[in-house]
Amino acid sequence: MLALSESDRITTALVMMALDAAALRHQAIANNLANVHSQDYRPQRLNFEEQLSALRHAVDTRGSITPTALAQVRPFIETGAMRAAGSLAEKMDMELVKLSQNAVHYQSLLKALDKRGTIFSLAVNEGRR
């Protein structure tokens, strides 16, 4: 009934990749916040959402995400255009919002991973944790 099927493994791989992406995104945000007053600074962002969109369009329901499709998705940090002269405060606020959002997303993924792991260990241990 419950086994580490291909589908389960793919879900786990998905969650791991999303966690990696969130950790990398934090670095980009932290870098942007450290360079609020740097001259000629080019803000950094994570390239992941767009890759996910492509993945989402390629598949729809459970089981349709193939390992090859998953392997194509690789989060990376990209550097944007030089920061336009303007309100530093606004840009800082935007980054702070992203910071919180990312931290919550990371922790929800961790929790989801943990709960799944508990179910698997129940299966392995015949109902004992």
Binding site: L2, T11, L109, A112, K115
Partner: protein, 98 residues
């Protein structure tokens, strides 16, 4: 600010257990057990699906994912306990000297 309400999943989980008929004869029990297996499997699949949605950023309410995972786990635990008790009973019968 739009705060989404904490509503339960549309799994019909509360209704499912309440309206389940109690097993009478052996045939009913086997049928019931079969039903349980299917249901637990469905819950597990649903939870897994929601986790994937969370990863892809398609989930509005994170608590739905957490609740689904918990429900899946608890149903699975229940089923495992039933299976353990059945095995115990079977082994006890085997131990009986004729």
């Amino acid at each position: 600010m739009n705060v989404p309400s904490v509503d339960f999943l549309p799994l019909g989980a509360e209704g499912a257990y309440a309206t389940k008929s109690k097993p009478g004869s052996a045939g009913d029990f086997a049928h019931w057990l079969d039903q349980e297996f299917t249901e637990v499997n469905d819950k597990l699949n649903q939870a897994d699906d929601l986790v994937r949605k969370l990863t892809l950023g398609e989930v509005d309410n994170v608590h739905h994912v957490m609740i689904a995972l918990d429900q899946a786990r608890i149903s699975f635990q229940l089923l495992t306990q039933v299976r353990n008790k059945l095995l115990e009973g079977y082994q006890e019968i085997l131990r009986m000297s004729v």
